[in-house]
Subunit: 146 residues, 2 copies
C-alpha cells in the first residue's frame, strides 16, 4: 500500500462524522487548507482529522468558527502538528471551560437570591449589568449583548 499522508474529503467526512458540505464550508472559512490534485480535487492531511475534531469540541464550548480559526492558526500549517502543539491548545480550552463554569456558578448563586425574593427585577437582582461580556453569549441578539 502506498500509505500516502493524504485523504479525500469523503474519507475525512467518514472519519469525523462531519458532512462533506460542512468540510467544504470550513475550508471556505479558513479552518482547513487542503491541497489540490491536478484534477482540482481536495486532498487533506491525516492530521486534519484531529483538526476537525478540535472544531467540534470547540463548537460545543460555544466558540464560533471565527474564534476557532484563531486558535487553529496557532498550529503549524503544512506539516503535521506535534503532540505539544495540541496540548497547548487543549489547555487553552480547559481555561475556557473553567471560565464558563465559574460564570454559571455565579449566575446560579444570584438566581438563588432571586428565588428568595421572587424579584427577577433588573435593578435589584443584577443578574445582568455585569458578568455579561465574558461567556454564555449564546445565539442571542448581538446588538443587545455586545
Amino acid at each position: 500500500m502506498p500509505q500516502a499522508n493524504f485523504i479525500t474529503i469523503g474519507h475525512l467526512s467518514r472519519r469525523t462524522g462531519v458532512a462533506v458540505s460542512a468540510l467544504r464550508f470550513y475550508e471556505e472559512k479558513g479552518l482547513l487548507h487542503p491541497l489540490r490534485t491536478g484534477g482540482n480535487q481536495r486532498r487533506f492531511l491525516k492530521s486534519d482529522i484531529r483538526r476537525v475534531s478540535f472544531v467540534l469540541i470547540a463548537q460545543k464550548l460555544g466558540l464560533g468558527l471565527a474564534e476557532i480559526e484563531e486558535q487553529l492558526a496557532k498550529l503549524p500549517e503544512g506539516r503535521n502538528p506535534t503532540l505539544a502543539d495540541w496540548q497547548k491548545i487543549s489547555r487553552a480550552m480547559r481555561e475556557q471551560i473553567d471560565d464558563k463554569i465559574r460564570l454559571l456558578n455565579r449566575t446560579r448563586n444570584q438566581l438563588d437570591q432571586c428565588i428568595g425574593c421572587g424579584c427577577l427585577s433588573l435593578q435589584k437582582c443584577q443578574l445582568y449589568n455585569k458578568d455579561d461580556q465574558l461567556g454564555l453569549k449564546g445565539p442571542g441578539p448581538r446588538a443587545v449583548l455586545d
Copy 2:
C-alpha cells in the same frame, strides 16, 4: 398621576434595555401579549418588565425563544403573576444551570485526559459520541448535533 398599570413599548424598552424592534419581535413569537389602544398602539403591563427580564436570563442559559415561550406559558396570562409563579420558574431554571455545570465538568475531565495523551482523537477520547444531546448546543449546526 394616574398611576395606570400600563406602559408603552418605548418605556418597556428603556426599562429592560431591549430594543423596541426586538420587543415587537418577541410579541410576534408569542412571548408578549400586549393590549392595544384605540389607535392600535401597544400597551404592556408593568409585569412585562419581569417577563422580558426572564427572557434575557433564559437566553443566557442557552434557551431558544420557543423554549422560553413554553416556560412563560406557565404564567397566568392577563393578570400579574405572583411571587410564587415566578419562583416556580426560577427553580426550573436553576436545574437547567445545574445540568449545564454538570455537563461542563464532565467535558473538562475528559479534556484533562486528552491533555495527558495529546490525542483529541474521536475514537479514544470520546469527548463526543455521548453526553451530547443534553445541553451546550450552541449556535452550531443543527443537522450535525441533533
